[in-house]
Symmetry: C2
Subunit: 168 residues, 2 copies
Amino acid sequence: MLRNDYEGQICALARSLELIGERWTLMVIREVFLGRRRFSEMQENLGIARNVLTSRLQRLVDAGVLEKRPYSERPHREQYYLTEMGLELWPTIVTLTYWGDTYVPLPGGPPMILRHKGDCGGVINDRRVCEKCGKELTVRESVATEGPGLKPALRELDRVGRVERSAA
Amino acid sequence: MLRNDYEGQICALARSLELIGERWTLMVIREVFLGRRRFSEMQENLGIARNVLTSRLQRLVDAGVLEKRPYSERPHREQYYLTEMGLELWPTIVTLTYWGDTYVPLPGGPPMILRHKGDCGGVINDRRVCEKCGKELTVRESVATEGPGLKPALRELDRVGRVERSAA
């Protein structure tokens, strides 16, 4: 056990949250799901402090959710991959993403849409079933595609950034 | 927005975690799912500090996940109910519970098993489908029942408690 936040709780939810319930942890896992496997990519995309990212990655490796594999020998560089245990967090990421898009929506709609990979291309619902062909899907059969809300949200981020810069 | 932990992230997962990603928050929501609606019940069952529980409950009410309703006038007492937005966190609780029981299992097996309420009684899988009748279920059609791991886990907690007491 890495630590024991929820001592005395006989509950699988508590045991899950011991491993992945810390601030930033699910966001780090999302990065790896989206193919950002290197420390520098994650750090840049999340805007997270380096020491926090280091600690989150180490705990996920210790817990068996991520594994490190080298991609360069000189200099020695590693990237992070999801283990089977990590890949099986996909259902949780799917349900939480749907919940956020439903109850805390962006004005332009979802920024990302999960689709059945390959020829089908159907939208994946929150039970991980393809709405087009009806198949029950795994993470390996899914692909994240751009949704209608992405471009408006990027423009808004850029606008806010410009306002902040001009106010400075 | 209650606060902004994940500023600059255009992502429904980040928006969800802003609301329910804090330590203890999903455990508090689980309490209400299991019918523990009063502050004192939750506080006793979770063993959480009173000020932390107060702050978590207030944020969940502000976010629209829980609502307070009076159950006594003199003295004035309130209990907590899940809103529709709160009930829709059930899929996330289901997926995280299955993940915990799979990858961080108790020696005796799952302490809790979700079943299709009523005559069917089939086990609910992690897509919230009844394994017996095949129906796609909502939270209102589910019931939490005792699993094989509960009694051994309670005995173990009791044993550890006794060891700690005898060491004191």
